[in-house]
């Protein structure tokens, strides 16, 4: 018997849980101006997220999917993309989307029950939030194929969860990416929980990153709470994709510190001790410690920026709360480019009903 193929999975971590550099770090680790900007973005997301949960608890928002604990991977992914790249999120990657110009009021609009949230200010070609799990991976692969066919130096990036990486759509997307050398970066955000089902119940595979091996793709596991590691992996993968070198699978290991959504109660299925341990590894604290150790950040700046975030979020919340519902005709008007005759009649009936006829 001989070995016909062998593989290994690298794990990438630069910044440990205490904020100490553990390996020869990329230039970003010394670019404190950029690191501070990214840290500020992460803090904005955290402030926004807490406010959104509070809005739901007070009846001012529908069900909301919190992103607590995902700030490093979301901002790491979003900040690595160029405007002309294409982002295909699942439904909680606000940190990535804010980097791309999506407004907080649009997130609130979506979870507040209004399709206009998906008509967002980010790159107009980015895909909308995607609730049917992992389907966005194939849409990103289709986008990547479009760019490849048109010879455009653009990449497509999809985010999927540990649970989503069990779906046929995920496997299909990475498989076709390998088969056709598509510029797709598939980021598995392994936050350990798919609602109530733990990571170990999803697959017998040792890592989720290794799923890329079967697709013939380079793959890497990164500490998803380490912004510098996430960015390094993204930068490498995106450069390869834009240059025609094909796709990558990145597994970002993090932890869902919140409930799945505001409709969920995670205390039903996981131990407080596990959550407490995860808080010790969370992404904000370590980056702040690193920045403070290098005199790039301090308590005063922290408090000032938090206050600024709170004011900005309040303005966004107000814009959302003051927005009027769409007219009843809005449910008809985007079903087709041109309304078919029979649907136009249903639209007229709905208008008449509104007018009390």
């Amino acid at each position: 018997m001989s070995t016909c193929a062998s593989f290994q999975i690298e794990h990438l971590q630069y910044l440990d849980a205490e904020g100490k550099l553990r390996a020869a770090a990329p230039p970003l680790a010394k670019d404190f101006e950029q690191l501070v900007a990214l840290y500020r973005q992460m803090l904005f997301v955290r402030v926004f997220d807490a406010k959104s949960v509070a809005l739901q608890r007070t009846g001012k928002l529908g069900t909301y999917a919190s992103c607590l604990g995902h700030e490093a991977v979301h901002v790491g992914v979003g900040s690595a993309l160029r405007p002309e790249d294409c982002f295909a999120p699942s439904y909680r990657e606000y940190g990535a989307q804010f980097c791309r110009g999506v407004q907080a009021r649009e997130v609130l609009m979506y979870w507040g029950g209004d399709e206009r949230g998906n008509d967002y200010s980010g790159p107009r070609h980015d895909f909308a939030w995607c609730v049917p799990i992992a389907t966005q991976c194939l849409h990103a692969a289709g986008a990547a194929l479009a760019y490849k066919l048109r010879k455009e130096p653009r990449a497509a990036v999809c985010c999927v969860g540990d649970g989503g990486s069990s779906k046929a759509d995920f496997y299909g997307a990475i498989n076709v990416t390998g088969a056709m050398t598509l510029p797709l970066v598939a980021v598995i955000i392994n936050n350990q929980w798919a609602i109530s089902v733990p990571r170990k119940a999803q697959t017998g595979a040792q890592t989720l990153a290794q799923k890329g091996i079967a697709a013939g793709l380079p793959c890497v596991q990164v500490d998803g709470n380490d912004l510098i590691a996430v960015r390094a992996a993204m930068d490498t993968a995106l450069e390869r994709a834009r240059k025609g070198g094909g796709g990558t699978v990145i597994e970002a290991v993090t932890y869902r510190l919140s409930d799945h959504t505001t409709a969920d109660d995670a205390r039903r299925y996981r131990d407080d001790a596990e959550v407490k341990a995860a808080w010790a590894r969370e992404p904000m604290k370590r980056l702040r410690a690193y920045l403070e150790a290098h005199k790039a950040w301090d308590e005063k700046k922290e408090e000032a920026w938090k206050a600024e975030c709170a004011a900005r979020v309040d303005a966004e919340v107000n814009a959302y709360l003051e927005s009027k519902s769409q007219p009843v005709t809005a449910m008809f008007d985007y079903t087709y480019a041109e309304l078919p005759v029979d649907l136009a009649r249903q639209r007229e009936a709905a208008i008449a009903r509104e007018q009390g006829h």
Partner: protein
Amino acid sequence: MAQITLIEAVTQALAWEMAHDPAVVVLGEDVGVNGGVFRATQGLQQKFGPERVIDTPLDETTIAGLTVGLAAQGMKPVAEAQFEGFIYPMMEHIACHAARMRTRTRGRLHVPAVYRAPWGGGIRAPEHHSEANEHLFTNIPGLRVVMPSSPARAYGLLLAAIRDPDPVMFFEPKRIYRQYKEEVPDDGEALPLDVCFVLRDGSDVTLVTWGAQVKETLEAADALAKEGISAEVIDLATVKPLDFDTIAESVAKTHRCVIVHEAPRTAGFGAEIAARLAEHSMFDLYAPVERVTGYDTHIPLFRLEMKYLPSVQRIVEAAKRTLTV
């Protein structure tokens, strides 16, 4: 001008549109070198290259999802499901994304895609190769469901489907792929979507059908004519959205209606037509609406399939029943 079959008309339409619109790409299983298992894409890869006639990995989910992504990013993909019976893994992408993209993004993104599939039974095919399930798609908002019944309509309707800015299910009745030839000018002229075609004028009974059953229905009209009964024959062509006005006008004239379709009876699309006749044409009708359909069974394997499919005799009998009330 060449005489061509329905499947040759499909190929001719694809070739015309690919030659005139660089955004059009064809993708599916075996559509490339092999030209498709029925040869619908015969010669296209040789003519337009492997980047525009794309053999995908063997996964219908992948084909359906790639198509959404391609279309949302400025391409006009024409995806092939190799058989209608293989279309089920595609449905999530069709229903949740292709059909819904425009409305859920308020028009920011849309999916100008065509999903083609050889449809229906009657060719002695193996299991899962003979399904008629257009009714599963006619209930999905945002879709068009189109089914040609002649070479000329296949050409014109497929061109219209590719040019349409919304997703279109294009179901090709494979039983009549090579049934007969007719002259189809390769002039790039599309036919209108969203309208029925009145194939035969009549005054005593309206026969409404689509797809492969157009053949049996026209033969039934011939048989009825020999007995002095004048049948009007309507081919829906675009099943959804339904051009009900054409049916209603016909029934206002004939006062009788028989709906013929291959799919199972319960909640088949004939039920929708019958319901609309009940809502809008009740007082024009002199007799109950008749439906001649597949049975509420799975289409049997081919030793029995012709007993499942609506026959000329069943259509004639139903038409006569409407005239004896």
